[in-house]
Amino acid sequence: MDNRKKLFTRRDPYKNNDQLREAFLAATRSELSHHIKNCPEYARIAEKQGFRPDDIRTEADLAKIPVIPTLYLKRNRLFSVPESELAVRASSSGTKGSASTVGIDKKSLSLGMRMMTRFFSYHKVISLIPCNYVILSYEPGATDLGAAKTAYGTSKFAPALHREYCLKAVNGKYELNIEGVQKALLRYAKSPFPVRFVGFPAYMYFLARSLRDRGVSLKLNKKSMVILGGGWKQFSGEEIGREAFCALINETLGIGRERILEFYSAAEHPLAYARCSCGHFHVPAYSRVIIRSAYDLSPVENGQTGLLSFVSPLVHSMPITSVVTDDLAVYSDEPCGCGNPAPYFDLIGRAGVSGITTCAAAAAETLGKGAAK
């Protein structure tokens, strides 16, 4: 069995051993050789940084892999296979204006699907009981957004009776569908089937808050579930604490905290990380997290805040074996109270200027091309 298959198709995503660690390093080396051979831009970057795949001998060497920032992927196309071999394309949601285009080849996609199925099955998200869905994201069709695809994909983990979208496609544009969602919800509440809410946390928050403001308190089927991913994005000013958020959902929809699941994922790193009952995102055996210095991207000590960076050999079509996101996080390999033996990271915030409008950057919007070139 090839190393990638060995890594990504295991029933327990978190259980690791020496054999798997070896497989991880071997798969990473082999993917990097492929990217350097087939992606001239990445080969140039690797050469500039004096990196060769054979340099990867131990886990500590993983930090040496030329790391690609998500910003680079937003501004450049970077493929290691002919574009005709891409099975799917997705765009990041482009919180700050520009979006990455990510393309995945058939083999990585099939491996990724198996990984996701195992992963969500481990987290008991997969169910045969039909559900009514509230999709807290975009309606697919008019968009290439990864978020739309992820949310729609997530609504296949249990058979769908009906799907109502928070962002509905109307004549090729997206409109907020608050009224439609509220009507659907009242209808769902009378049905004997569970309801699943999937998508952006910010929409879940606004939905629950508007229900509370109107004095609505529903008792949905106890198998109902909230499945969130994607960060607070444009509503970051409204972020509330996790406890208050869970309490609000319980108060308005009757869904208990144990049935509110949060996942972390990114278009540029299409793997999922689940938040445990202690609030941590555990790292599966097929991925590694490196926290990098906010000043020079070098790895920092466990427990220190820095930029969240991942290494995983999943994607064959793009040299995104090692990526650095613009999320700030801390990493720990201390035992976690939830019992999951895998190390974990906690999200701390996002890189960037928040709350300050820079005069000049805003002026550059007029030019339609974001800050600098």
Binding site: T305, A363, A371, K373
Partner: protein, 426 residues
């Protein structure tokens, strides 16, 4: 924090006030007109009451460095002083002549008088600490009733200063409304706009577009949109001129409309651009050392990612990155005008004199200040070129972000925009 008729209100009470804003505004307008002298006297007293021992701790508590706090406070005292305001009014509206004249071809005299527009809604920007107050002060000086919508994440300074001004001069009380509703609350903001004669908006495209949507066709829009500024270097330029531009970059962190974003060099040779970039990086590094700053880690992280991405993208023939001790200069081989990454990260680009007009003409309504760094003998020729573009201020590097009393803003006299000329003839 909301402020109506001199009282602090919570959001629910403020919402209630907005629901009867039409009446409240009418009540304010039924007052005797607010005289300039009254406003000037109140501002002058405010200016003299801003004592270091009270204000510096307040400002440093809001996150300003002690040096910045001192400078901001000094500026606030200066622009609210009687001397400044009197001089500014003369600069904008002329002397004491009463506006009477007999128009050409007429046989009777007419009289022209500047009068307030009436009610001004101010949508303030968040990038200058006390900007919302300055906007309201301009509205008061011109006798208007002012309704201020605070920027998101406002630090509370504006409301405190306005409250203080009202305590000094209660006649101002009814001329100032402050509301702290989020920009997303378009329904409430629309109601405020509906009772206003003009909406003055400071901010980026998003703010300006939002204001355009808020204001009905019968409401005048006064837009102070965001702008870009740069330095132009031509011929032999001494180190002190370049240090001036570097000083502006460090002092303003490139966040203002008139901050230097980068340098256009009078050449079409990319190698020359790179040599200059390397030289300027050294000057910028040295200047930065004398003006310490500390970036919040989240901002530092963003800059690190941006510069690393630029380095990954760099190509010897089109882009080179020069990083030195917390500053950077990126040499590009194009003549585009872009915002820099700010926080002491600037660009250098080729822009030969003969292409200056064609390249800069692309940027309508977007240019602000050009620092002209060239031998004195070439100034007139280059000034003539810049005049034809959208540039509204030509100065040295060091003076780019320094204002002076009576200075036009974005090429206009601001106070005039808040007034109308009424013509009287019988």
């Amino acid at each position: 924090m909301n402020l109506v008729f001199g009282e602090f209100l919570d959001n629910a009470a403020a919402k209630e006030a907005v629901s009867r804003l039409g009446e409240l505004v009418l009540e304010a307008r039924r007052q005797p007109p607010l005289l300039r002298d009254t406003v000037i006297r109140a501002c002058d007293r405010l200016s003299r009451s801003l004592r270091d021992e009270d204000c510096i701790p307040l400002l440093t508590g809001m996150g300003l460095s002690p040096e910045k706090a001192k400078a901001e406070l000094g500026y606030a005292r200066f622009v609210t002083s009687r001397e400044y305001l009197t001089s500014r009014l003369i600069r904008e509206f002329g002397g004491t002549e009463d506006g009477r004249f007999t128009p050409c071809g007429e046989d009777r005299p007419v009289r022209l008088e500047w009068k307030p527009l009436g009610v001004l809604m101010h949508i303030a920007a968040g990038n200058v600490d006390a900007a919302p107050v300055y906007s309201v002060l301009e509205g008061l000086l011109t006798g208007n009733v002012n309704i201020l919508k605070l920027p998101g994440g406002d630090n509370g300074l504006s409301v405190l200063l306005l409250k203080k001004l009202i305590e000094i001069e209660p006649a101002i009380e009814k001329y100032v409304f402050v509301f702290d509703f989020p920009s997303a609350d378009t329904e409430t903001l629309g109601r405020i706009a509906a009772v206003s004669d003009a909406v003055t908006v400071w901010g980026g495209d998003e703010a300006v577009s939002a204001a355009r949507k808020l204001a009905m066709p019968d409401t005048k829009l006064i837009e102070w949109g965001h702008k870009l500024s740069f330095a132009y270097v031509s011929g032999d330029v001494g180190i002190s001129a370049l240090e001036g531009a570097a000083k502006n970059i460090c002092e303003t962190e490139q966040l203002l409309c008139n901050s230097c974003q980068g340098v256009f060099l009078d050449t079409d040779d990319f190698e020359e651009v790179c040599r200059f970039a390397e030289r300027f990086a050294a000057i910028l590094e040295k200047t930065a050392e004398s003006i310490p700053s500390s970036l919040p880690p989240a901002v530092a992280a963003q800059k690190t990612l941006e510069l690393y991405t630029e380095e990954l993208e760099a190509e010897p023939g089109s882009k080179r990155v020069y990083r030195r001790g917390g500053v950077s200069v990126i040499a590009y081989n194009d003549s585009e005008l872009t915002a820099s990454y700010a926080f002491r990260n600037c660009w250098v680009r080729p822009l030969p004199k003969d292409k200056l007009l064609s390249e800069l003409s692309k940027y309508k309504n977007l240019l602000n200040t050009a620092a002209l760094l060239c031998p004195k003998k070439d100034r007139a020729e280059l000034e003539a070129l810049f005049e034809k573009t959208g540039v509204v201020r030509i100065t040295s590097g060091e003076r780019m972000s320094r204002s002076y009393c009576g200075a036009p803003h974005d090429g206009e006299l601001p106070l005039r925009r808040y007034m109308k000329l009424v013509s009287y003839e019988y």
